[in-house]
């Protein structure tokens, strides 16, 4: 369908003109014209949603900028402007840099595992086989289960003494029994704790990567691939020059969404380790929560959270560009 026929083309206006001729189209006031009424109706329908978003997302976002440059805290409701003091003190906090580094490590390592697992799974699900629907349904459960709930399962599996993972490793002879020096305490040892949290994030989101990729693959029309085949393209050439460019936009979007959600999610780390032991698995969202809510220092908490913006901004920009290109 052409855009004209989708949006109704010129007919409604023409019809309106026919209907309104006896009334005298030229003498009507502007607000009674067909399109003015349509605009009023349209913006009225739009208003509730727009107001909600403006008041509860837009305004708070601006307000968080103000909090970040004020000395607001929970006990004292009157906030004063203190410039970039909060950012400076965050900058000088050792914990901040640990959390920053952990956040970046978390994001990058998780992304690598997710893309490898997600791509392999997507290729497998691309095959035709019996029971595909069921298997697909099972594999995506980690993504659809509410995160705060599935983390509990992991907390139990990472138990210091009764961990089922350790039980299996121990039975397989890879580690000694409980109490032996190579018995891993997943959430209690600095490097293991961060790795354990990353593993949960990978577990939760690799199905998402796979499904997004799959959606991309199925968007590539078979005729195009066949045409390329007829023209003598090898498999790699078809992949490189046909499939990749066609699925690139959707891959980008999936990747960016995942970046936003991974960077800003605190539930995995908060529920598993609270950022511990020490600060070994602390990431920026957890730090922002601890400073802003638990310590009551709203200003500094907001400043720490805002440090995520430069990390998120490229993501937002690219999504925006991509959405602009969608068919209207």
């Amino acid at each position: 369908m052409t855009p004209a026929s989708l949006s109704g083309g010129p007919e409604p206006a023409a019809r309106a003109a026919v209907v309104s001729v006896p009334v005298g189209a030229t003498r009507r006031a502007w607000w009674r014209t067909h399109s003015a009424q349509r605009y009023v109706f349209g913006y009225t329908l739009l208003a509730p949603a727009a107001l909600y978003v403006l008041l509860l997302v837009g305004a708070p976002f601006v307000f968080s900028l103000w909090l970040a440059v004020s000395d607001a805290n929970v006990s004292d409701p009157v906030a004063r402007f203190i410039g970039l003091e909060n950012f400076r003190s965050a900058w000088e906090m050792e914990t901040f840099w640990i959390a920053f580094q952990n956040s970046v490590v978390f994001l990058v390592v998780a992304a690598i595992f997710k893309s490898v697992l997600g791509t392999s799974l997507a290729f497998l699900l691309l095959q035709q086989f019996k029971g595909k629907k069921l298997i697909r349904g099972l594999v995506v459960i980690p993504f659809t289960l509410p995160i705060a709930i599935s983390v509990l399962s992991w907390k139990w599996m990472y138990d210091s003494q009764f961990s089922v993972i350790n039980w299996a490793l121990s039975r397989a002879g890879l580690i000694g029994g409980y109490g032996s020096p190579d018995w891993p305490i997943w959430l209690g040892q600095p490097h293991l704790a961060l790795a354990a949290c990353i593993a949960v994030n990978v577990w939760r989101t690799f199905p998402f990567s796979a499904i997004v990729l799959l959606a991309g693959f199925t968007a590539v029309p078979l005729e195009v691939l066949d045409a390329a085949k007829v023209d003598g393209c090898t498999f790699m050439q078809r992949f490189r020059h046909v499939v990749v460019p066609m699925i690139f936009p959707i891959l980008m979007i999936g990747f960016l969404f995942d970046t936003v959600f991974t960077l800003s999610d605190l539930s995995v780390v908060y529920l598993l380790t609270q950022g511990g032991p020490g600060n070994a698995s602390k990431i920026l969202p957890v730090l922002a929560y601890q400073v802003g809510i638990q310590a009551g220092n709203l200003g500094r908490g907001a400043a720490i959270a805002l440090f995520l913006v430069p990390l998120l901004f490229p993501a937002l920009f690219l999504v925006l560009r991509n959405l602009k290109r969608r068919e209207w």
């Binding site: 727009a50 997302v57 708070p60 019996k130 659809t144 969404f257 602009k324």
Partner: protein, 292 residues
């Protein structure tokens, strides 16, 4: 018998080939299914195990070594606020769904169908707010909640959850309304319906699947939240399930793993299954209709 086998020999090799391909695919998928499902299986079996059965390292833990029990669920319903959390969760989600419907459906319609100036940019802007993470908004929103006097009640969540369901569902409904043929509305207008009449009597009924999808997402997306519930609601009996279970059932170092897992699964599993059916719509939504 042998004669028959010989006669169908060529198709059989084809079938063997097919069988081998199937086996290969299954073998490839097996580890993925195992990784994905094991934690859920582990929750399920833990929920029905007797307490001593959880702490025996000499037995194989993957099955019951003592007879299964419902005691963990009894504890949950008689000794904790679990029942209240379920009611809270359902009530919160219902309110969120209602608010989402009343705002997102008209907005999606207006942006998709009425050729408003700037509709495209408004639509994208609303959708992008879905990407503003909770971690940036929760501190300023805590002030908003305090000003409204809603701190320490689940009503706080009714106010904040639409901050992500409204943008997402508006976007979803926009895509949905675009697929409804314009002619239907025009016919209704010709038949004497007003603008609102055409929407309510003609377009909405055929868009019911889309409206239903929005309701489902209002529910499932609300259930995915943890941060807002953690930050805004502290009284034990006001929490929704995903927040109440990890924060109230874990006290100090004593873990009632059986009850914990039961509590998590009883609500988590239905949500996961429901979400499962609508996952493709979610992906379609966030990829902005790149995939048709």
């Amino acid at each position: 018998m042998t004669g028959v086998v010989q006669a169908v020999a060529p198709p059989r090799t084809k079938r063997q080939k097919e069988l081998r391909r199937h086996l290969l695919v299954y073998a490839g998928l097996a580890p993925f299914v195992l990784i994905a499902v094991f934690p859920i299986y582990w929750m399920l079996i833990t929920a029905f195990k007797q307490e001593p059965d959880l702490y025996r390292m000499d037995n194989i833990p993957f099955w019951f070594n003592l007879p299964p029990t419902l005691k963990n669920f009894e504890i949950l319903f008689y000794q904790t606020n679990y029942g209240a959390w379920i009611v809270n969760t359902m009530t919160i989600s219902a309110w969120v769904a209602l608010i989402t419907l009343l705002t997102a459906v008209p907005a999606g319609y207006a942006l998709a169908r009425l050729r408003l100036p700037g509709a495209e940019n408004i639509g994208i802007t609303i959708f992008l707010t879905y990407l503003v993470p909770a971690i940036i908004l929760f501190l300023p929103l805590s002030r908003v909640i305090a000003t409204l006097g809603l701190q320490d009640s689940w009503w706080a969540l009714v106010v904040v959850y639409p901050t992500f369901t409204v943008p997402f569902c508006t976007w979803l409904m926009m895509g949905f309304f675009k697929t409804v043929p314009m002619e239907m509305e025009e016919a209704a207008r010709v038949d004497g319906c007003g603008q609102l009449g055409a929407l309510v009597r003609v377009v909405l009924p055929v868009s019911l699947p889309g409206v239903l999808t929005s309701v489902i997402f209002a529910f499932t997306l609300s259930m995915q939240d943890f941060l807002y519930g953690l930050a805004f609601v502290s009284p034990g009996d006001q929490k929704p399930v995903p927040v109440g279970v990890p924060t109230e059932l874990i006290r100090g170092d004593v873990f009632f793993w059986g009850s914990l897992m039961g509590a998590a699964l009883l609500v988590g599993l239905p949500v996961a299954i429901l979400y499962n059916f609508f996952l493709d719509r979610f992906i379609q939504g966030i990829t902005g209709g790149v995939v048709k």
